[in-house]
Symmetry: C2
C-alpha cells in the first residue's frame, strides 16, 4: 500500500505515532516506578467548558480528571482508552486509514476474566459505538491530537470552488477549473497546502442546491469569492477548511442560511462550535464568521433599510414559525456569543413576527437577484450580523 500513499500522509503518520507512543509510554514508566498508572485528562464537562470572550471561542477549562487503573470504577475505562490508543497506533504504523466506525469494530471483543474464586466470566470491551467514540475523544484531549491528525477518516460533505490553487496529497488542484462540478474537501484539511489565491472573501452557503446555482451562475468569478457549501450542518473538515481560509489567508467569511433558528444554529457551529465538543472548537471554529443572511430585516426591513421582499412576496414566501422554532430561538438568545446588539435585535424580530424564510424564496425572485444584487449589496453595505 505504501507507494500508493501520499508523502504528507507518511509524515503525519510518523508524527502522530510518536506523540501517541510518548504519551502512553509514560504509563509504562509509572508501572516500572511502582506507581499506579494514571492518566490526567482535561474534563469535558459543561462546567469545564468556558466561553473565551476575547478569542470568541468555547474552550476547555483547567479542570482535569484522573483515570487510575487501580481504581475499580476507572479500570474499565482506563483499559478501553489504552486498547483504543493501541489500535490507533497500530493503524498508524500499518498505513491504515480507519474510521470511527471501524475502530469500534476493531476493538469490539469479549475478554474472559476470572474472579478471585477462579470463576470465569466474560466482559465486552464495548457494546455500542458511543462508548468507543467517547474513548477516541478522550485520546484526542489527552494527546492534543485531533482524530484527523491520526489519519482517522470520515465521510465528508463540504465542497469548494473559487480562484485558488491548493496542494492536496501529491496533486496540485485548481479550484477554478472544476467545470459544473466542485472540489470535495478531504477529511484531513490540515494537510492541504494553500498555494495561491485570487479572492476577496469566502461565502459559505448552507444549502448544496443553492451552492450549485451560485456556482453555475458564475457568482464566484464575478465577485472574487471562494464559494463553499456545508450541505447542511457542517462537518469537521468543512469547519476546519473555512477556519484556515479565514485565519491564514485573512479572508472574511460570510455565512448564508435560511432565516430561522436552525440557520442561526448552523452559523453558530461555524463560528463557535458545539458546546459539548468544545475541545475541538479551538481549531475548527471561525470566531469572526459573519451571518450574511437571510436576516429578519431583509424580510421586514428596518430603520433606514428597505426590505428585499414586497408585501405580496412576504405573503407567498413566509413560513409560520413552529413552537420548536420559538423555543430554540429563546435558547439561542441566551448564548453568550449571541448577546450582541445585532443578534438580540434579529432574535427579537423573529420572536415578534414568528416568521421564517427559506433562502430558496430569495432565489425564486431570480438567480440574478440573489447572486448579483442581494448577496453583493449586503456585503458592500456591511449588512451582516456579528
Amino acid at each position: 500500500m505504501t507507494e500508493l500513499e501520499s508523502k504528507v500522509d507518511k509524515e503525519i503518520r510518523k508524527k502522530a505515532g510518536n506523540v501517541l507512543r510518548e504519551t502512553f509510554l509514560k504509563l509504562v514508566e509509572m508501572v516500572n516506578n511502582n506507581e499506579p498508572p494514571i492518566m490526567e485528562i482535561p474534563k469535558r464537562t459543561l462546567s469545564n467548558t468556558v466561553y473565551d470572550e476575547k478569542r470568541g471561542l468555547l474552550i476547555l477549562g483547567k479542570e482535569k480528571l484522573k483515570r487510575n487503573f487501580l481504581d475499580l470504577n476507572e479500570a474499565k475505562r482506563f483499559m478501553q482508552t489504552t486498547l483504543m490508543a493501541s489500535i490507533i497506533y497500530d493503524a498508524l504504523v500499518n498505513d491504515e486509514y480507519p474510521t470511527i466506525r471501524d475502530l469500534y469494530y476493531r476493538g469490539k471483543h469479549s475478554i474472559i476474566l476470572k474472579d478471585p474464586n477462579g470463576r470465569a466470566y466474560e466482559e465486552n470491551t464495548w457494546d455500542e459505538q458511543k462508548e468507543s467514540d467517547s474513548v477516541i475523544v478522550d485520546i484526542e484531549v489527552f494527546t492534543s491530537l485531533l482524530r484527523e491528525d491520526m489519519l482517522i477518516l470520515s465521510k465528508e460533505k463540504g465542497k469548494v470552488v473559487g480562484d485558488m490553487r491548493i496542494r492536496s496529497g501529491n496533486d496540485v488542484i485548481d479550484l477554478s477549473k472544476m467545470g459544473h462540478g466542485a472540489y470535495s474537501i478531504e477529511p484531513t484539511p490540515d494537510l492541504i497546502d494553500f498555494m495561491d489565491i485570487n479572492a476577496e472573501f469566502v461565502l459559505v452557503v448552507e444549502k448544496d442546491a443553492v451552492f450549485q446555482q451560485l456556482h453555475r451562475a458564475g457568482f464566484w468569478k464575478q465577485y472574487k469569492a471562494i464559494l463553499v457549501t456545508s450541505a447542511g450542518q457542517p462537518d469537521r473538515a468543512t469547519r476546519r477548511f473555512v477556519r484556515r481560509l479565514n485565519e491564514e489567508l485573512k479572508l472574511p467569511v460570510y455565512i448564508l442560511t435560511d432565516a430561522d433558528p436552525y440557520g442561526w444554529y448552523i452559523y453558530s457551529v461555524f463560528k463557535i462550535g458545539s458546546i459539548s465538543l468544545s475541545y475541538e472548537s479551538e481549531r475548527l471554529a471561525t470566531p469572526n464568521a459573519r451571518f450574511l443572511g437571510v436576516s429578519m430585516t431583509d424580510i421586514f426591513g428596518d430603520k433606514g433599510k428597505k426590505p428585499y421582499l414586497s408585501d405580496q412576496e412576504r405573503r407567498n414566501y413566509i413560513i409560520k414559525a413552529k413552537d420548536a422554532d420559538v423555543k430554540r430561538a429563546m435558547e439561542i438568545k441566551n448564548y453568550e456569543w449571541f448577546k450582541t446588539k445585532g443578534w438580540q435585535h434579529e432574535i427579537s424580530v423573529f420572536l415578534d413576527k414568528k416568521s421564517k424564510l427559506e433562502i430558496e424564496a430569495m432565489a425564486s425572485k431570480g438567480l440574478r437577484f440573489l447572486a448579483f444584487q442581494y448577496i453583493p449589496e449586503k456585503i458592500k453595505n456591511s449588512d451582516f450580523i456579528n
Copy 2:
C-alpha cells in the same frame, strides 16, 4: 450573467426551450382551431409501470391520460402544468438555474376568481411543494425532457476519482489529480464529455467514509478502477453518471454496500430505479450493475466458498436483523428483478440467519484486507450477484 455561463449550458437552454415551446404551442393551436386544449400524458400509475425483462428496466407502459382544460376536474391541474411550464421556459430564456424548491416558490401565489354570480374568491396555485413537484414530473413525461435537460439543478452527493479526463462546462478535469479530495459530480451529468479513460471497472461504494478509505489507500490506482460514492441512497446525477460510464465506456459496474436489505435496496435503485419513478429509469438505471457485496456467503461461506470471517469475527461483527429488515427482505424477494438464482439464494440465507453486516466490519479487518484482498478477489472470481 451570460458571459459567466458555460457554452454547453447555452446550447442546452436553446434546445430545451424549443422543445417546451413546441410542445405547449400545440395547446394554443387547439384553441385557435376551436378545439378544447388537451394534454396527453403517459400515465405514471403502478398499473402502467412495466418491468421490461429484456432491457432490465422499469418503464412506463402505453396508457395515457387526457388532461382537458374544459373538464372541471382537470382544469386546476391543467393550469398548474401550463403555469409551471411557463416558469421553466422563462428560467431557460433568462439564463436562470432554478431548483425544484424555488420553482415551487416562483409559482406560489393566489388567484382571484369570480364565480358566475360575481362573487370573488381566492384560489392558491399550489400549497405544498409535492404539488409543484408532481407537475414538474408531468412536464418531464409530457416533453420527454428530464429536469436536468431543462437546467433545473439540485443538491448533489456523488463523488468520483479515477484515471480519466472529463470536460465539464468550460474546463477539462483530470479525475486522477484530486489529491486526498474528490470530484463532486455536477447535477447535470449528461453535459459531461468523457475525454479519455484508463480504467477497467467502476466500483460504487455506498458509504462516503469507505470511499475516503479506499481512495486514500490508492485502491483505484492499483486496480484501474473508477471509484464512485453515492453517499447513501443515490441521487439522480450519480445514477446517470454511473449509467453513462457503463453504457458509453462499457465498464462493468460493481456496487458495494452493507449486507442488509437496505444495501440491496441501494443496489436496486442503481440497477432498476424506483417503482414510483419509472419514467426516469430509462435514462438513470444501470441494468447490468452487479452486487459485489457484502453478501451473505461472504459472511457464512457456501458450497466451495470459504467465508471471509472467522467464527470469532462473526460473533463480534454480526448485527441481528430487525423485524423491519425481515419484512423488507420478503418484499424484495418478490420483485421481478430479484428473481434470479443468485438473489433468491442470498435472500434465503438472510431470512434463515437473520444477520446483517456493515461494510465497516470488513474494513476493520484491515484496510489492506478490504482494498487489496476482499474486493479484487471477489471481482476476479466473479463472486457477485446479478
